[in-house]
Amino acid sequence: MASAVSPLALPVPPPEAQPVRSARIEAPQRRAAGDRGEGPDVWTVLAPDASPWYRAALDRISGLTALAVGWNGYDAREVKADMVIDAAKFLTKVAFPGIAAPSIVPLSDGGVQIEWHRGGVDIEVAFSDEEPGVYVVDREGGEVELPLTEAVPTIAKYWRRLQDS
């Protein structure tokens, strides 16, 4: 199995970049002979210094793909594999020790939402085809909507307030 150092890894992470964790992402295993090659490639994200909740969070995200159409009792779509992968990548970048465990929920459009509600701030990161983005309510300073590209910087900005108490 080949392995590669993630481009997320910084040679010498400055303190202000602490939430951008290093991680090693292993390439997909080669399929065995006889494997018809159906289904997505499986990537393994190794993050040995991650938060204690990191593994459970990945399991939770992965488990969302088992939800069938209509999982909300109505007409919710299946959770999409690419949304799950994007959410897992995001968690890999921010699951550094000390930060509290987020809540992870499916969205009816097939997306995944990761949320923190603590330290006087509510942060929702939506991985969604229809409405991707970051929504922050700072109870000391109003609310703001940001593009998904700002997800990691947002966690970096608020990481002291997201600490597990």
Partner: protein, 117 residues
């Protein structure tokens, strides 16, 4: 999900995302002498929250009666639901039925600690 800022469980704002959001209308349930729990039949992991019509209409929503063959209480709350509005929905919602089995151990522990405290 547990909300440390509010010290209580709240539904995730994502459940209020749909432009046409399915609901069950309490007046029909009462007319049919049905308990609210009955709308969760076959959904053992689901909980139930309530919102008032006054509240949702105040959020520029329209409540429509859209009965289904197997459920006369079905309705839709229609209208644009921005992220901010969804957040208001989540904070206004009151749990009617809370299925503790669907909570993770951490959420359950926090809820019980808050209740006992």
């Amino acid at each position: 999900m547990w909300n440390d800022n509010d010290g209580c469980l709240r539904p995730g704002s994502g459940v209020f995302k749909d432009h046409e959001m399915s609901v069950h209308l309490d007046d029909v349930l009462r007319d049919e002498e049905r308990e609210p729990e009955s709308v969760l039949d076959g959904k053992p992991q689901h909980s139930l929250v309530s919102l008032t019509v006054d509240f949702v209409e105040g959020e520029e929503q329209t409540v429509r009666r859209t009965p289904k063959p197997d459920d006369a209480s079905h309705g839709d709350v229609c209208g644009n639901k921005s992220r901010g509005r969804r957040k208001k929905f989540a904070r206004a919602a009151q749990f009617v039925v809370l299925r503790e089995d669907a909570l993770n151990p951490d959420e359950l522990a926090k809820m019980r600690a808050a209740t006992e405290g």
